[in-house]
Symmetry: C2
């Protein structure tokens, strides 16, 4: 047994932080250290401060969500149906991991200082952009279409999570997500 038993303390700290965040309880730096079995200031060897840890958590969560959405998309053979599958996956990820979703979007760390975080959410936009290419004859420019779809799905997800829409029932929220995707595509379809 080493005195320095954590060859990978950084990873252990992140894991402890995920667990605490998921349980929505006592998400303090000192508690994270406790769960990782180290002293309350050992984390400062790996993170400049609490925000730094939260930024790492947010970035990591974005990667997990992207992987989850991509996996869901890959299961759908017909390209036009993939956008809806992605939207549903986005919703389901948020409903299953509300704390991750909150950390991703409602944390207060300075985004400008974390390019990896910015890159991660930019990837989300790129993914939507790519999925939209299976849809022809849209009468708005691709960037606007991308933002409309992402923002709408994100809005339903965020409000749904907080149970402000349809009592947050997952089935009803999925129907609402489907309706949003279909309505937006329909609305963007050119009449030509």
């Amino acid at each position: 047994m080493d005195k320095y038993h954590h060859g990978n303390l950084r990873a252990a700290l992140l894991k402890a932080a995920f667990h605490l965040a998921a349980k929505m309880e006592n998400f303090t730096l000192r508690e994270v250290a406790r769960r990782a079995g180290v002293s309350h200031n050992a984390p400062y060897r790996h993170f400049r401060n609490k925000d730094d840890l939260i930024a790492a958590l947010a970035t990591e969560s974005f990667h997990q969500m992207l992987a989850f959405v991509r996996a869901a998309v890959a299961e759908v053979p017909t390209p036009p149906d993939r956008l809806r599958a992605a939207a549903r996956a986005y919703l389901h990820f948020a409903l299953k991991n509300p704390s991750r979703f909150n950390i991703m979007f409602h944390s207060t760390f300075d985004r400008h200082a974390y390019p990896d975080y910015v890159a991660a959410y930019t990837e989300s936009l790129v993914l939507v952009f790519e999925l939209l290419q299976a849809h022809e004859n849209l009468n708005v420019d691709p960037d606007t279409a991308t933002e409309l779809v992402w923002a709408s799905v994100h809005g339903i997800t965020g409000l749904g999570m907080a149970a402000r829409l349809r009592e947050g029932s997952p089935e009803n929220l999925e129907l609402l997500i489907d309706a949003a995707v279909q309505t937006l595509l329909q609305g963007m379809r050119s009449l030509s």
Copy 2:
């Protein structure tokens, strides 16, 4: 000069809290008390705890936003244009009062315990519902239409505020809001 110089300490505390929240700095119960010129535990005479104050702040903010949106709507003589005016007002309120918007949607107090808060955001849905009645021949049921529009506008607002959309430029965000409203209406329009 009374010893109990605050005939209306509750209002003074809320005002101090608004100022602190707006400056995004040091939003602690003790600091709120300091700004109101009372001891650090005087607030407990008016609020059960910090969450209780935050819930009051959130509810109050909802009423302010509703009043702001209603005023914007009232200035528009043609009913079909009112929905877009409301959406823009929603966006502008959020951009001008990001701390209020955050308190309204991202606080962690138990909503179930604050029926006034629930009533306030239900009013938002009702308002959208009413504005949609100026639009005929929609091929989705009114409740779904209401939720789609609110969630989309809310999503653009939330992501835009965090500068995740178009660098958060107000002009571009307004264009995006307009596009969302128009696209959703277009998509919901029945072909008959």
